[in-house]
């Protein structure tokens, strides 16, 4: 059945109102403050460490975001933990909140399609997160300029921009997920709890669980274990399972972008073959992170579409 008129009609109205709402809300202020506080702390320590230890490093600026050897106290880790919270915080009540305020039927009685409402809300959330992340990104770079006294090279800027885009896509995944829950559950508290619960599960339990499940599906071969090597099949399963979590995808993409000399499978291979492991150039790093980046964006779209389908079929009456 062909619908008359454009599904985008009214989307910009929804977008700008929601964006205004987000940017002026106390909720957003608190989340921004949280990220700033954590971010400032870890970036400060990273800068101190760099000043003390690194004499000469072609990727000085990268170290600010992801200090070598540091997994606990890095800006990237802070982001990978706090970005989901920000996204869930923005999205968990976007649709069910309209039902609870009883504004949904009044808004949908205006000449717009539901598409416009959902898309406007999603893009406004993504826009808000982008504003927040770009601000943080610039703050860290500015701090780095002041503290390290070295300007980033062109390649570093390229890497940092890709890192920023990946982070926004990662935020988009969680935002789409939070909005899906806000469509599925009529209670905002339930939607928030399910979102946060899933985030905790994926962040804390899933990495370990993926290992166990991979082992269960394809048990390690004793011959590889004797040599102290992972069984390829088992490793493949474990990686595939771990990558179901957007956090894993994000981590892998970011490591590829920010640690050009990271030990990937190819660099390991190079060592075996007697070649010298050199830092990868930007385009090679991008190539390495490409599947993860595409998966993140695809996941975002997939989750959004799921929410869209359910929302379109939903009865308006509360």
């Amino acid at each position: 059945m062909q619908r008359e008129g454009s599904p985008w009609r009214g989307m910009n109205v929804v977008f700008f109102r929601e964006l205004f709402d987000h940017l002026t809300s106390v909720r957003m202020l608190v989340l921004e403050f949280l990220v700033l506080l954590f971010g400032a702390t870890v970036v400060y320590f990273a800068a101190e460490q760099i000043r003390n230890t690194t004499a000469e490093d072609p990727f000085l600026f990268m170290r600010l975001f992801a200090p070598p050897g540091q997994t606990l106290l890095s800006f990237v880790l802070v982001l990978s933990i706090l970005v989901p919270i920000m996204a869930i915080g923005l999205g968990f009540d976007s649709i069910n909140g309209e039902y609870n305020r009883r504004t949904m039927s009044r808004i949908l009685a205006q000449p717009i399609y539901r598409d416009a409402l959902l898309a406007g809300k999603f893009l406004a959330g993504l826009g808000t997160l982008t504003v927040a992340l770009v601000t943080l990104w610039l703050l860290v770079i500015g701090f780095g300029l002041l503290r390290l006294g070295v300007p980033p090279s062109g390649e570093e800027i390229g890497r940092l921009i890709v890192f920023l885009i990946v982070t926004i896509a990662y935020a988009g995944v969680w935002l789409a997920l939070a909005m899906l829950f806000s469509v599925l559950f009529r209670s905002t508290a339930t939607a928030a709890l399910v979102g946060l619960g899933l985030w905790l599960f994926l962040a804390l339990l899933w990495p370990a669980l993926a290992q166990v499940l991979g082992e269960a599906i394809s048990p390690s071969d004793i011959r590889f274990t004797m040599l102290g090597l992972p069984t390829p099949d088992t490793l493949a399963w474990q990686q595939a399972l771990a990558r179901l979590s957007p956090g894993t995808l994000y981590g892998e993409a970011v490591v590829a972008m920010l640690n050009p000399d990271a030990q990937s499978m190819t660099t390991l291979l190079a060592q075996f073959q007697g070649r010298i492991a050199a830092p990868l150039p930007l385009d090679q790093s991008l190539l390495q992170a490409w599947p993860q980046i595409v998966s993140l964006i695809a996941g975002m779209i997939l989750l959004y579409v799921a929410g869209y389908v359910v929302f379109q079929r939903q009865e308006v009456r509360a």
Binding site: S105, Q110, I112, R317
Partner: protein
């Protein structure tokens, strides 16, 4: 003013196995106030949502202003105003901001918005609270704000779902008065309510809903004639002997009930005030008061479904 603006034919809506609206047909003309009346859960709101294209029709057709709401919802929603049951607004925004959001969604040009919003707020009696946050509004004020939205939209059809529920008597009569004003501007108004008696005074025609069906449709007088056998209610207060007998003998009177000391309630097929007065005077009685009214919808509704239940007809299942 005889143009049909809403036409529903054999409209049916099923949710899974349950039938919410069962094969209903009705028409609404421009400048008419049409009441969808009946108990909660009788299918009134579902009917309204189908008219707005907000829920799919299972079978049958509906035509609003020459458009099918399922296929051309934007055309329909551009010219139809809807005040939902217990209307909600964004509490953290002011009344004017709430209305300018909808004004933008409607597509009212930016330079006209403020003027139209203020005029609409003025019309519904909220001229001074435009810059107050809606969170502080009472229920009556929210209903008025919802009506202001419809006024601002300058619609051809206004659909009001339970507009009077939860309002005090003063707020109710104010709201009904505003609805009358809308009617005089040529707007077709559709009111759904479970408070039959409250809205009966404003409705030109009503449809009585029960279990997803329209049991009765027409003017209140027609329904009264059909169900009670009499379209007029005449209240007589008079002193005298055997007045009940005398009044019963007046031609056109269907029944006489005592309604208190020296008060009688007549159901008649016409306005029998003068005949009744003559009967009282001829009997040597003293006439104190005489009033004519249409029978109450509650009485019609109760009698109808009481009769149906006794007949065991399918309507009363």
């Amino acid at each position: 003013m005889n143009d049909v603006v809403i036409e529903a034919r054999d409209l049916t809506k099923r949710y899974g196995g349950a039938t919410a609206v069962d094969n209903i047909s009705f028409t609404v003309k421009a400048g008419e106030i049409f009441g969808l009346l009946g108990p909660n859960g009788a299918g009134k709101t579902t009917t309204i949502l189908m008219m707005l294209g907000l829920t799919e029709v299972t079978s049958g057709t509906i035509n609003v202003l020459g458009h099918d709401p399922a296929r051309e919802p934007l055309q329909v929603k551009r010219r139809v105003g809807y005040l939902p049951d217990t209307v909600g607004f964004y509490d953290h925004m002011t009344a004017v901001d709430n209305l300018s959001y909808t004004a933008a969604l409607i597509g009212i040009p930016a330079r006209e918005r403020r003027e139209r919003i203020l005029a609409a707020l003025d019309r519904v009696g909220l001229p001074d609270v435009g810059n107050k946050k809606v969170g502080a509004f009472s229920r009556g004020m929210r209903q008025r704000l919802g009506l202001a939205e419809i006024v601002m939209k300058s619609v051809s059809i206004a659909i009001l779902d339970e507009p009077t529920s939860g309002l005090d008597p003063q707020a109710t009569s104010d709201l009904l008065e505003m609805i009358r004003v809308l009617k005089h501007e040529g707007v077709a108004v559709m009111i759904s309510s479970h408070l039959l008696e409250r809205v009966q005074s404003v409705c030109d025609r009503v449809a009585l809903f029960n279990n997803g069906r329209i049991a009765l449709i027409g003017t209140v007088q027609e329904l009264a004639t059909q169900v009670l056998g009499a379209g007029y209610r005449v209240d007589v207060e008079a002193d005298g002997l055997d007045l009940e007998e005398k009044l019963r003998a007046v031609p056109g009177v269907r029944s006489v009930e005592p309604a208190g000391p020296n008060r009688f309630r007549l159901l008649a097929q016409g306005d029998v005030r003068s005949q009744a007065a003559a009967a009282v005077v001829n009997a040597g009685g003293a006439l104190r008061q005489l009033a004519v009214d249409t029978p109450s919808l509650d009485a019609i509704y109760n009698r109808y479904f009481h009769d149906q239940a006794q007949l065991g007809a399918p309507h009363a299942t």
